[in-house]
């Protein structure tokens, strides 16, 4: 037997920077760093000389100056004398609003379509795959514009609701679909309405408490309490009783035709509706595919084993299939939510005042502060994306199959 001794330590030579794998990575990184610095210096130099030539500078003072434009859909106080920062704030809230609405409806639509795609019914299956293929393969921008066109060109104007020979009428007497937007009744918060709301919140907590108690009872003693009807009762009864005892503090403000337009109620503008619906049905098609893939990923043996244990079909779904399918469904679902948030920037195509349309659109054009505006815009979206992916990572780690 010969023993292999370490080769003699060679002294460092320059050629080892290229040929020796120990040092080569250092060479490459040094080159990369050099290239990076040189290109950044080049771009920065160009930027500075271009800005100087145009007589510009980088400053964020414009955020404090009056915006000078109106926004028709705002959730917070805003007028044309408010600052540009305030306008950007309105935009951020509007972005979050439409993203939230679209996430909720897209999930409902997507889960429904995904489950129905696996239905035993041939016709339903085909219809749902038709829906998925149609909406996945056509750009969302075209859908937004199409729905916006329906909103503005097909729906009747407020004047069609007027007079005895009105060509349009309000749905159920309280919803008006007009080409200026949809008017829905607004709640009026009277005295004592706070108590009703508080009772409602408390009863939601009560439902959860009841379900926990029922589950604990089931595990401890094997007694099965009814779940559905008691939950509904706990949720609704106290609130309804309180509502009538306090003399109906919450009323509804119905939209009414006054002058040339509707007054009262809440106006949901056409652009918001277009964006909301288009994003929902477009992303719903993607979510449907995720849901289908998730359910199909649970092997048939699991369902059969659950049935062999004597579980009813509903329980097979709730206790065996869904917990395993959700592990597959939720990560792509969250990235679809992220896509909705990013796609909501298409609001600018239909004039919905989200952050892209206010900060990146009107403010940018009026102040000419292109670099600053785009920088802030990117920062906003980056913050949202990175925080959602951080949450995602935590979730993924907690849901990871615990293996040896």
């Amino acid at each position: 037997m010969t023993t292999i001794s370490d080769p003699q330590q060679e002294s460092f030579r320059l050629s080892m920077l290229l040929n020796d794998t120990r040092y080569r990575s250092l060479t490459f990184q040094a080159i990369a760093l050099l290239v990076l610095i040189v290109s950044f210096a080049y771009l920065g130099n160009n930027l500075i000389s271009n800005l100087r030539a145009a007589g510009l500078n980088i400053s964020f003072e414009f955020l404090g100056s009056p915006a000078g434009y109106d926004i028709n859909q705002t959730l917070i106080d805003y007028n044309s004398q408010s600052t540009n920062a305030r306008a950007a704030m309105v935009g951020i809230i509007n972005t979050l609003l439409v993203a939230f609405l679209a996430c909720v409806t897209a999930t409902v639509l997507g889960v429904l379509a995904g489950v129905l795609r696996l239905s035993n019914n041939w016709l339903v299956r085909k219809l749902m795959s038709f829906y998925v293929e149609i909406f996945r393969n056509i750009p969302v921008l075209i859908w937004i514009i199409i729905i916006f066109t329906i909103m503005t060109a097909v729906l009747p104007g407020p004047r069609d609701f007027r007079g005895d020979d009105a060509t349009a009428s309000m749905v159920l007497g309280s919803f008006a679909f007009t080409n200026r937007g949809i008017y829905v009744p607004a709640p009026i918060w009277g005295a004592g309405s706070g108590i009703v709301v508080a009772i409602f919140v408390a009863s939601i907590a009560g439902v959860f408490a009841y379900r926990r108690y029922a589950t604990k009872l089931l595990y401890d003693t094997g007694r099965l309490l009814p779940m559905f009807w008691p939950s509904v009762a706990i949720l609704l009864l106290p609130t309804i009783v309180a509502f009538y005892l306090l003399g109906r503090p919450i009323g509804l403000d119905y939209p009414e035709l006054k002058g040339f337009n509707f007054a009262g109620g809440i106006k949901i503008g056409g652009p918001l509706i277009a964006l909301w619906f288009a994003l929902s049905i477009y992303t719903g098609a993607f979510i449907a595919e995720n849901v289908r893939a998730g359910i199909q990923s649970v092997s048939k043996g699991q369902t059969e084993a659950a049935s062999a244990l004597g579980l009813r079909p509903g329980r097979v779904m709730n206790l065996v299939v869904l917990p395993q399918a959700l592990r597959v469904i939720i990560p792509p679902l969250i990235s679809q939510y992220l896509n909705i948030t990013k796609n909501s920037s298409l609001a600018i195509a239909v004039g919905y005042a989200d952050i892209t349309a206010t900060l990146g659109g009107i403010t940018l054009n009026q102040t000419g502060r292109a670099i600053e505006c785009v920088l802030l815009l990117m920062l906003f979206y980056l913050t949202i994306s990175l925080s959602i992916s951080a949450i995602m990572n935590v979730y993924n780690n907690s849901m990871k199959l615990k293996e040896r």
Partner: protein, 432 residues
């Protein structure tokens, strides 16, 4: 058996009863309908609801489409002919056909050039998409970018020729040096190509004729569906190699390279494409030298390529991560160095796993090319919303135009996704 019981039992059948036909409800279409449409009550309700939905949609669209008018000059004429009946005015598609496809400023007499480039695209893409075709066709694929550039933009023939020469020179240098080390060949090839292009920058203006064979068309004249196709094809093909490089960089053991790649990928994936397009239209010009005039289409191509390469990098990273560790170790134990291991062992398998994801990104990117209409470029959607709907003849023809745009995109995207499913089945070499 029958003999033994002949006397003890009153009647014994001696012949088998011929098989009775199955009941009417358990065969053929009736059975199929019962099982697939009316299996139980909720199912039957769903079926009826679906029929109702189909009826509603068809009763609204069919008369409209069948009554369509194809040969008028304006919407007013359509309305005159229809006399208040429902009917589409498809004449807008006929009358503005060229504008929808090529934009409104591309010279009409040379429409044959982009059309030819489009037809050749299929020829060039065929050997990449279908492996059974002879490999020699790949030569044409390699030549195609230069031919297509020359056909669409025109101008002096020497620009694409020298561009091609640079690539060929770089390739020759690469072949010469790759035996010594991959890095030397790779970087040497790139350097050689850049040297040739730099020299060409001086020669081409001298060689350019006054009246080139194919008239030059400025980029701002491109539009319509042609623009969508150009952006889609160029950006997808450019972002593939960049995406592979970024994915490998993200897996790299060199910390600096890894950080650069991670920051780039996460940054680009975190912002919407529209903000990158804003960068292309209003910010990017600040970063170029003052005398450089880089036209909008090129800036848009740069930004979209960045965007899609980040997404493709993530898809390929997934493919790399999905490979069993044994493959990396096997490559190492064979004594292959990093470039060899990647080229021969890892990437072929990783890319195969990533194909569905890459195709998804490509389809998504092609759909996203419509966003350029927001920064006032006249692609298909931009043409419809801008010049066509704003014209006095066609103001108000929404459905026909948007359905046409939707149909074009649907055909392309659905075709690509069907191809990817075929490819997945074709490449499934594992035993599952």
């Amino acid at each position: 058996m029958s003999d033994t019981h002949e006397h003890s039992v009153a009647f014994v059948r001696t012949q088998a009863v011929p098989a009775a036909p199955p009941p009417f409800q358990a065969t053929g279409p009736v059975k199929w309908v019962r099982e697939n449409l009316f299996a139980n009550i909720p199912n039957a309700i769903l079926t009826l609801l679906s029929f109702y939905a189909i009826y509603v949609v068809l009763s609204a669209t069919l008369p409209w489409m069948l009554n369509g008018i194809w040969n008028t000059q304006s919407l007013a004429e359509c309305r005159e002919i229809l006399q208040g009946a429902t009917g589409a005015c498809f004449s807008v598609l006929v009358e503005r056909w060229n504008q929808l496809l090529f934009g409104f400023t591309y010279p009409a007499e040379i429409y044959w050039r982009p059309t030819l480039a489009f037809v050749l695209l299929f020829l060039a893409a065929a050997p990449v998409l279908f492996f059974d075709l002879p490999r020699k066709l790949l030569v044409f694929t390699a030549l195609y970018p230069f031919i297509a550039y020359y056909l669409i933009w025109g101008g002096t023939v020497w620009t694409p020729v020298f561009a091609l020469l640079g690539v060929v020179g770089g390739f020759l240098v690469y072949v010469r040096f790759v035996r010594n080390s991959f890095a030397a060949g790779f970087f040497g090839g790139i350097a050689a190509a850049f040297v040739i292009w730099w020299i060409a920058g001086f020669i081409v203006p001298m060689l350019a004729w006054e009246n080139p064979v194919l008239a030059a068309v400025p980029s701002r004249d491109m539009g319509g569906f042609m623009l969508n196709m150009m952006l889609g094809v160029v950006c997808v093909s450019l972002s593939l190699p960049i995406g592979i490089a970024l994915a490998l960089g993200r897996q790299s053991s060199m910390p600096l390279i890894k950080i650069i790649c991670v920051v780039f990928i996460e940054f680009v994936r975190g912002v919407p494409l529209i903000t990158l397009l804003f960068v292309a239209s209003v910010v990017l010009a600040y970063f170029f030298p003052p005398d450089a005039t880089i036209d909008l289409i090129l800036r848009v191509i740069i930004m979209i390529t960045m965007f899609s390469s980040a997404y493709i990098a993530e898809v390929i990273r997934g493919g790399l991560a999905a490979l069993p560790k044994g493959q990396y170790e096997a490559a190492d134990s064979l004594g292959l160095d990093y470039p060899q291991a990647m080229r021969l062992i890892i990437l072929p398998q990783a890319l195969k796993i990533s194909i569905p994801g890459i195709v998804n990104v490509a389809v998504g990117l092609f759909k996203d090319t419509t966003l350029v209409s927001v920064i006032s470029m006249f692609d298909l959607v931009g043409m419809i919303r801008g010049p066509i709907l704003a014209s006095t003849e066609w103001n108000g023809v929404y459905w026909e135009l948007f359905m046409f745009a939707a149909l074009l995109f649907f055909i392309v995207c659905y075709g690509i996704s069907q191809y990817s499913q075929w490819l997945e089945r074709r490449l499934a070499t594992d035993h599952r």
